[in-house]
Amino acid sequence: MADLRIDIASEFVGAKAFKQADTATARLTKQVSTLAKSYIGLVGAQKLARASVNAAKAFAQDDKAARVLTQSLNNLGLAFADPSVRTFIADLEKQFGVLDDQLRPAFQRLLTTTGSVTEAQSLLRTALDLSAASGKDVVSVAGDLSKGYVGQTRALAKYGIGLTQVELKAMSFEEVQTRINDLFGGQATVSADTYAGAIQRLAVASNNAQEIIGGGLLDALAALGGGGEGGLTNTLALIEKTSTALATFVRRFGVGVGQLAALARGDLKAFRAIGETEMNRGKDTSGLTPSIKAELAKAAADKAAVKRAKEQAVLTKKQTAAIKEQTGLQKAGTLFDIQQAGIIAALKGKITDEERKRLELQLAILTGNTSEASKLAGELAKSQGLSTQLAAYLADLPKASNPFSAWASYLDMIEAQARRIANVTPVAPTSIAGNNTSGTFSPAVQDMISSGQSLSVRADAAGNVNVYVAGSVVSESDLVEAVSNGLLNRSLSGSPSAIGRLKGSFAG
């Protein structure tokens, strides 16, 4: 806790921080001044270095082009012509102010097409004239001439040589070249003699000077590294080391300035932090042993790999699905295209409502009428839903029984009865009450019948039973018919089969 105090008198003596700030500012000013001087020197050095690098690069490119051309000559068995080709290209460069960077590729192209140094040289001269007349670069013109040499004369028509495609095809290349030379011969020379040509030649000279300087610089660098084949490599290594040292110096200088600024602010924490950061630069501050760190890194890498593989799999799956979907749509589209005419024709025919809806839906999809398609799809779905419901209802109905299924057994039984009856031998009726021949029962029996009492018939001691039958005895066929009718009436008088008939669900 800060002391509670009442200051009665005090004196301003200036803060320590102010003195520090003064010192720091003075130092900073001095260092900035030094830095500015260094910077100016550095800029100059940088420009020189850049120019040197450009020169070296130009030399390297030129050297590369020359080597490529030499190799082409070697491949064509024309290695003996290499010195003359070099001289030829150098002369052309000086004469027409066209860089050898362009002449070499053009010549190489013509050489590989014609296979003859003389032909290539002749064509290159033609190409230079044509290039000067048309304003196109010599490499493109040489390319077109190469094509024309092998019969592809279409590209030559654009140079306005006054020949139609038919004429170009009909003429030989020699004739075409003669025509071009007649039309554009000397254009390159004239162009080189103009002010523009002079500037171009100056540029060529400058370029050549750059290449020469670059070559010298590379030789010098090689010599600096001890000369020979490894000389340049040694120099490059030295440059790398020097660059690293310079980078370290610049970085530490910045750290120093940052620390001074922090000191000027009185921020000792920042001062210390900047210093520690620089000291720990490149050091592992995680506190892990290298083996554990390597394990952790490996685990993280594995995890990342698994994650990437999963993502890749998902992506592939999505792409496959998309392709499949697209293919399906294309296929469906093709089908619809083929069927479109058929759909229209079918709509004109006599079809059911559901079929009509289907056809209209297909047509709507084909014509891209989305609203109509949506509407029809809904209706179709509804219709299909109703049909399905009806089918389900019918399927759930109970199976109707055959009302005549029981007739066979009945008829068999009737036949058996009729057969049994037919086999019965008639017996002469006898009175059950003594000699009563009146055809009626005795009064006692009649009373019993009329009173509804059960009739008990007992046989006599001899076992004879006398039955008197009133009315007439019918024939067998009449009896069968009567019994059949009776059974029929019975079967139609409320039995389950009768209900089945009323419901109208007879099977078969």
């Binding site: 002391d3 509670l4 200051d7 004196e11 301003f12």
Partner: protein, 174 residues
């Protein structure tokens, strides 16, 4: 707000070096002006029976033990200083000051400055905070300083100027 006296440190050094007697005399003179204020301030410090019993030394344990109240210590913590302090961050050096150094005394002095006299602790201190601005409000030292109404301050400054004049007179300076 302290009064800035230009050259006071150099004067003090010069007094000590060239006129030690005058230096001692000046110190005594300044102390004479400050002692009544300090005595008055100590008088405002309550006795042990007047503060909440839980705050007393012996009833506070742990980290609060350091700030426990004891009337004697709190009174002894109030004093004055006539020697220059270290230069603070702003570059000022205090030449003469009155202090309330003890933790309990500081609590008694300043409790309620920010949050107001509220709760169960600060209302039990007798009287409100004396002083105008928040940083100069208090119950003991600041109250005594306010009651002094600047007399001590004027006297101290006058003593410094007088000693400067005497020094110049003795040494032949301007």
């Amino acid at each position: 707000m302290p009064t800035s006296v230009k050259g006071a440190s150099n004067l003090r050094k010069a007094l000590k070096q060239f006129t030690p007697d005058l230096a001692k005399e000046t110190q005594k003179e300044i102390a004479g002006f400050l002692k009544p204020v300090v005595r008055n301030a100590r008088g405002f410090v309550p006795s042990n029976s007047e503060v909440p019993s839980g705050w007393l030394v012996g009833n506070q344990k742990g980290k609060w033990e350091r700030v426990a109240f004891d009337s004697t210590i709190a009174k002894r913590g109030i004093g004055y200083k006539t020697t220059p302090s270290k230069t603070n961050r702003s570059g000022f050096k205090s030449l003469v000051s009155i202090l309330n150094k003890s933790a309990a005394g500081a609590i008694y002095e300043t409790a309620g400055r920010k949050s107001g006299i509220d709760g169960r602790f600060t209302p039990r201190f007798n009287g409100s905070l004396a002083g105008q601005s928040q940083k100069t409000q208090g119950r003991a030292m600041f109250k005594a300083w306010q009651q002094d109404q600047g007399k001590a301050k004027g006297a101290v400054l006058q003593a410094i100027f007088n000693s400067a004049a005497k020094f110049n007179a003795q040494t032949g300076g301007k």
